[in-house]
Amino acid sequence: MSLSVDEVKKIAHLARIEISEAEALATRQQLNDIFALIGQMQAVNTEGIEPMSHAQDLMLRLRDDVVTEQDQHALFQSIAPQVEGGLYLVPRVIE
């Protein structure tokens, strides 16, 4: 497979990373090299193999339905780029 520059730009948009024309061109070559490496996977037949998503077969733990977290919003917001009245500020979304 080989990615086009437009495909690179589309992936960058999906990943919300601004990319210039020049960067897209340079990135395209590197991604194609990497996908050539990844393509080696196709050499092995994996029919009937159970996919492994995780190293351990764990069951998700359950806990009692009680409040355990303390309110730390002032502490957490002290490192935010922009806050006002306990809210994180972003550019206007709804006109």
């Binding site: 990943a15 990373i17 090299d33 996919p51 492994m52 190293a55 806990r63 490192i79 935010a80 972003v90």
Partner: protein
């Protein structure tokens, strides 16, 4: 003091030959003297460290010392520590002073250990040379024109240059073991789930595991005793009874069955590295171990599968860096979408962006089965190879890295060449098995010098005590781990 084991330092503290304040001060002076050259630390905060040292001295004075009380420990800058700048080697977090402690940091704090500083690393732990850090490359103390390995290059250089007695690190594809090999250290990546990932900034959550870079297996055991433990805040933390990882250190190796992976001695392995590993195998035979040839036929597929799984998980994990709640925000933007994409374009470095793009692609509509599902099936085959091997042997060994430390810049512009550094270490991450690297000699650096070589060892799930035993017995019979760089 700088070459003392943790046991010796603990004894000196207990006997009041030295205080934690004095010990911490000595190491901080060293960092001040040597860091300009090596760039191993991103953040040092003398007052904050000495405050902890004073508290440790009170604990010792009141007879409440535990193992590691008063010992300065360097932490990879991936572990959140309250009040400390925690950057993960990225511009994205270059202003992030953590409001909370990682579980690992709490464990060290509870033990009365001292935070010596935060060490440099590849950005978001993505790299094998420590050259992707926003804070610049780390130099290898054995040869300052060469890389220390990565991503835990700062932790490795700090311990190898005797700027810290021991350091924490993390390993997603080899990031503890490969730097250990390249800097002559002992590196331990525990079984997946043994060390909590809470507060350890996520790269690939099904592979990431915290561990240790130390000068000996004995020191690694003492540190793992503090680091490991169940934590309900990490959904993959394993709940099992506490164990003493040092309990088997002194057991003889007679009867030990060592599996030698034949696939790991083929093309691409530097001759000098292969020779050092073969000599180590001979040493194990002398110590009473039996060598068994084993095969892990799918290990050649580990790197391709890893470069699907790890970027896929990374693209999801790193979506949280959006410039809204913490970290870097682009100074100028038109609207919310522009805020996101400019913040991420400016905040992430080239390698991180590459991996996010790979991950976004392999998870996108229409490609999932061909890439992600395929990689997960190969992951199963690799785990099965190991399961088969462990019916025949107790540990599996081979080289940690195909070459000794390579020159700075040598592979920086060729991602695929860089990725192949981790060809021997990645399988253990995919399977979730514990892995170690132990210094086993030196090999020609191609330039008239010689540099450290690491012996790689993989054990079965939860076999850390056995692996530390094997490494410790080897270190009792050899002195490779005691060698240090010239001028250090």
């Amino acid at each position: 003091m700088f070459n003392s084991s943790l046991k010796e330092l603990t004894a000196a503290l207990a006997a009041r030959k030295i205080s934690s304040v004095e010990l911490t001060g000595l190491f901080l002076d060293r960092v001040e003297k040597r860091n300009g050259d090596l760039n191993a630390f991103i953040t040092v905060d003398r007052e904050r460290s000495l405050m902890q040292a004073r508290a440790a001295d009170s604990l010792i004075a009141s007879g409440k010392a535990q193992p590691l009380t008063g010992i300065p420990v360097a932490h990879k800058d991936i572990f959140c520590a309250q009040g400390w700048l925690t950057t993960c080697g990225s511009k994205m977090l270059s202003n992030f002073v953590s409001p909370y402690d990682a579980h690992v940091i709490s464990r060290f704090n509870d033990a009365g250990a001292v935070i010596l500083g935060k060490t440099n690393m590849d950005e978001f732990a993505m790299g094998s040379s420590n050259e992707t850090s926003f804070y610049g490359p780390v130099k290898n103390p054995w040869d300052r024109t060469r890389v220390p390995g990565g991503s835990s290059g700062g932790s490795a250089a700090a311990v190898a240059a005797r700027m810290a007695p021991v350091a924490t690190a993390t390993d997603t594809g080899g990031s503890i073991r490969q730097p250990a090999a390249l800097t002559g250290l002992t590196g331990l990546k525990p079984t997946y789930g043994l060390v909590s990932r809470y507060g350890m900034i996520a790269f690939a959550s099904s592979l990431d595991q915290g561990g240790v870079l130390s000068r000996s297996a004995e020191d690694a055991a003492a540190v793992l005793n503090v680091m490991a433990g169940f934590d309900a805040r990490d959904s993959t933390s394993i709940e099992r009874p506490a164990e003493d990882y040092a309990r088997d250190l002194d057991a003889p190796l007679a009867g030990l069955r060592i599996g030698v992976v034949k696939e790991h001695f083929g093309d691409g392995l530097a001759a000098g590295v292969g020779a050092a590993v073969q000599a180590a195998l001979e040493q194990f035979r002398k110590l009473g171990a039996t060598l068994i040839d084993i095969s892990t036929p799918n290990s050649g597929l580990a790197v391709p599968a890893y470069y699907v799984i790890a970027p896929a998980e990374a693209s999801s994990n790193l979506s949280r860096f959006d410039g809204v709640r913490y970290g870097y925000r682009a100074p100028e933007y038109r609207d919310l979408a522009d805020l996101y994409s400019k913040t991420r374009a400016q905040g992430f470095g080239a390698e991180v962006k590459r991996r996010i793009l790979i991950g976004a692609y392999v998870l996108s509509h229409g490609y999932y089965d061909a890439y992600y599902l395929k990689a997960q099936k190969i992951r199963r085959l690799i785990a099965n190879d190991f399961a088969q091997a462990f019916t025949q042997c107790d540990v599996v060994v081979g080289p940690t890295s195909p070459t000794v430390a390579f020159p700075l810049g040598a592979k920086a512009s060729d991602p695929v060449q860089m990725y192949l550094n981790d060809i021997y270490t990645i399988p253990a991450n995919l399977a979730g098995l514990p892995g170690m690297s132990v210094p086993c000699g030196f090999a020609d650096d191609g330039n008239g010098g010689s540099l450290p070589v690491g012996l790689h060892m993989v054990g079965n799930y939860f076999a850390e005590a056995k692996m530390l035993n094997v490494a410790h017995q080897y270190q009792r019979a050899t002195d490779w781990h005691l060698r240090k760089p010239e001028g250090i």
